[in-house]
């Protein structure tokens, strides 16, 4: 009952005129960003975060949450119409969405994607509402050792479940953590890692500088490279009759949507997993479960519905550890978490106690955003397809300008703009060699908290690392983290034995 009362209050907050307007603006912007090939929620949230300084934190998180949601829906548009995923989360949608569009059924694919996203979003928000308060309640007893153990678990998931090259993933985590240590030592206040005595380093490396560099500048350089060839936008025939027909045909895909929703939510909770593996797994399960698996990849609507339900559910799932434990479940939530710090909030379970209006306003706004995204998406499909026709020679400088102005705004220091440019270029060059960039962003966000909790824990235990084993909750989390860290090694050993 208490949860319902909080949720009811949350709806009051979400439907305040400013917040409601921000939800509408957020989902619309998110849909446009998601529809652009190569850009996804993480790019939109990173680039637009500096624009939220104008409004209160609750309104800011509602706006960014709506962008996150809208972008998840929008990713399917370019997957279906261009055959290029709007973001990595929409890769699986391309497998059957593109063949449907090529066969003249682009409308059915887009309707299936939008409806499945709505189903996935709705189920996952309900699960979120059920699970978040009890998890936050448990996390309230966490001290410094448990907090550090959680950080370690978040990093370990990237190693164990991320699927990227192991030493490069480790490197990415380490460099993110080192960058988070630039500035003043959190205990002694002494200057640390001040390169060439440049004064700009005294205020540290803002996580936004790295995030905008990698997900703004680096991403556009990457997209410019990957879109060298001409792409063809499919024809779309959409009428009232075809729309109803598209909805009716979805009855065959209900089970795929439900499966994708639950799978996506629980995969989304894991820090390294998130929406991309969630949607790929849902696609795989839908194909395996189907009576006619051979029809997948040739335009089966279930192949669109399952991954779309999963990627939307995963985006909500990734917010669960962010709000309850202060551990982001995806790169986008890592940036949202960093945003909270900028807005003066302390991420973690105390949010549910100290800032109920913030948490429940966000949760209620997700319900509203989910419904509004469905309506706006279906009503303005032609407008979003128009976005696909905007030449990249207009989009690229527009995004570059947003990055530069957005990188300057938080600290009003051109030093940060240079750093952002450097991170963007180096990040692009490293990405070409398969260095994963998401762990670095997660690490720079979690770095200060990880260092504080580690130093506090060691101080309590007079330098003995046994404190992480002696406390039961910390010990369990550490064991899980160690299992994940050694998972690639187990895979290697067992893989060799099988051969």
């Amino acid at each position: 009952m208490e949860i319902l009362a909080h949720l009811f209050d949350g709806f009051f907050i979400a439907f305040e005129p400013l917040n409601f307007a921000l939800i509408v603006a957020g989902v619309t912007i998110g849909l446009f960003i998601g529809a652009m090939p190569g850009l996804g929620s993480v790019n939109g949230v990173a680039i637009l975060l500096p624009m939220t300084f104008l409004v209160p934190p609750t309104s800011a998180i509602i706006f960014l949450g709506a962008i996150y949601y809208g972008a998840m829906y929008g990713g399917a548009i370019s997957s279906v119409m261009l055959g290029i995923p709007g973001a990595s989360t929409a890769v699986a949608t391309t497998f059957d969405g593109r063949p449907m569009a090529k066969s003249g059924f682009a409308d059915r694919a887009l309707i299936a994607a939008a409806t499945a996203s709505f189903v996935g979003g709705t189920i996952s928000i309900m699960l979120f509402t059920m699970f978040a308060p009890p998890l936050a309640h448990v996390a309230l007893v966490f001290g410094a050792p448990e907090e550090f153990a959680l950080m370690l678990l978040a990093f370990a998931t990237f190693i164990g479940l991320g699927g990227d090259d192991i030493p490069k993933t480790f490197f990415s985590i380490f460099i993110g953590l080192v960058l988070s240590a630039v500035g003043l030592d959190i205990v002694s206040g002494e200057p640390r890692l001040i390169f060439f005595d440049i004064p700009g380093f005294f205020h540290g490396v803002n996580f936004l500088v790295l995030a905008i560099g990698i997900y703004g500048i680096g991403e556009i350089l990457w997209t410019l490279e990957s879109q060298k060839g001409e792409v063809e936008v499919s024809r779309l025939e959409l009428s009232y009759k075809r729309f109803i027909d598209g909805i009716v045909r979805l009855k065959n895909a209900i089970m795929s949507m439900l499966m994708g929703s639950f799978l996506g939510f629980f995969v989304g909770i894991l820090p390294a997993a998130g929406a991309t593996p969630g949607s790929l797994m849902a696609y795989g399960v839908a194909k395996t479960m189907d009576k006619d698996p051979d029809s997948f990849g040739k335009g089966n609507v279930k192949g669109v519905a399952a991954p779309e339900a999963a990627n939307n559910a995963a985006s909500t799932g990734s917010m669960l550890p962010m709000l309850t434990l202060g551990i982001p479940g995806s790169p986008t939530t890592a940036i949202l978490l960093g945003g909270m710090v900028i807005w003066g909030l302390e991420p973690g379970p105390r949010l549910f106690v100290d800032h109920t209006e913030f948490v429940w306003g966000l949760i209620a706004s997700l319900y509203a955003a989910n419904l509004l995204t469905l309506i706006i998406n279906l009503a303005f499909i032609p407008a979003f397809i128009w976005v696909l026709r905007i030449p990249f020679t207009i989009l690229a400088p527009t995004i570059f300008i947003l990055c530069i102005v957005g990188g300057y705004a938080p600290t009003l220091d051109l030093h940060d703009v240079w750093l952002m440019l450097l991170f963007g270029i180096v990040g692009y060059l490293m990405r070409k060699l398969d260095y994963p960039m998401a762990p670095a962003v997660l690490a720079i966000v979690l770095g200060p908290l990880a260092e504080t909790s580690l130093r506090q824990s060691l101080l309590i235990a007079h330098g003995s690392p046994m404190i992480f084993i002696e406390r039961p909750i910390a010990a369990v989390i550490i064991i899980c983290a160690l299992v994940l860290l050694f998972l690639p090694l187990f895979k290697l050993i067992f893989g060799k034995r099988k051969k």
Binding site: P167, L177, E190, T393, P397, I401, L412, G424
Partner: protein, 164 residues
């Protein structure tokens, strides 16, 4: 691509050593009653970075290479795209000191839209004027965030008098 893998690992290894050396300016060991020294956290993480680089280099010499094969790291076309993007941005940021954000924005737009995209002068000029105006109104008036204007600063005084 193979050479690029090795070069990147060596460059990052050198950077890691630099970070270790820089971190060691603060104590990296245990300080009684204070806990780990201020340099410990970045020092050991930089050591971890170095370890990863050595891992990648050793792997390279042992012939491990599971991706991209012999495809070039950057072909001529990609190099042109990369240089166009990175150099134009560097010039834009550098020019902010001189002509400010409101001079640099139209410069970048004209370069991309007219000289790379071959869009019409009308469209290019429209966006080149519209962008700085919208940026000024949003950042300076709505958010009250002052963007750098370089030598053009005095030109904005009358605007501030009118709008603020």
């Amino acid at each position: 691509m193979r050479k690029a893998e090795l070069i990147m690992a060596i460059v990052m290894a050198i950077a890691s050593i630099g970070l270790m050396w820089k971190s060691a300016e603060l104590p990296v060991g245990w300080i009684p009653r204070e806990g780990p020294g201020g340099g410990a956290f970045p020092f050991w993480l930089s050591a971890g970075m170095l370890g990863c680089c050595i891992w990648i280099i050793v792997r390279w010499f042992r012939g491990y290479f599971d991706f991209h094969g012999e495809t070039p790291y950057m072909d001529r076309e990609t190099l042109v795209i990369f240089l166009t993007g990175s150099v134009s941005l560097t010039v834009m940021v550098g020019s902010i000191y001189l002509i400010g954000v409101y001079g640099a924005i139209p410069m970048l737009l004209i370069f991309y839209m007219r000289f790379i995209g071959h869009h019409s002068w009308l469209l290019t000029a429209t966006l080149a004027v519209l962008f700085p105006v919208v940026t000024f109104l949003f950042f300076e008036i709505v958010l009250t965030i002052t963007l750098p204007k370089g030598l053009t600063e005095p030109l904005f005084y009358p605007l501030y008098d009118i709008l603020m």
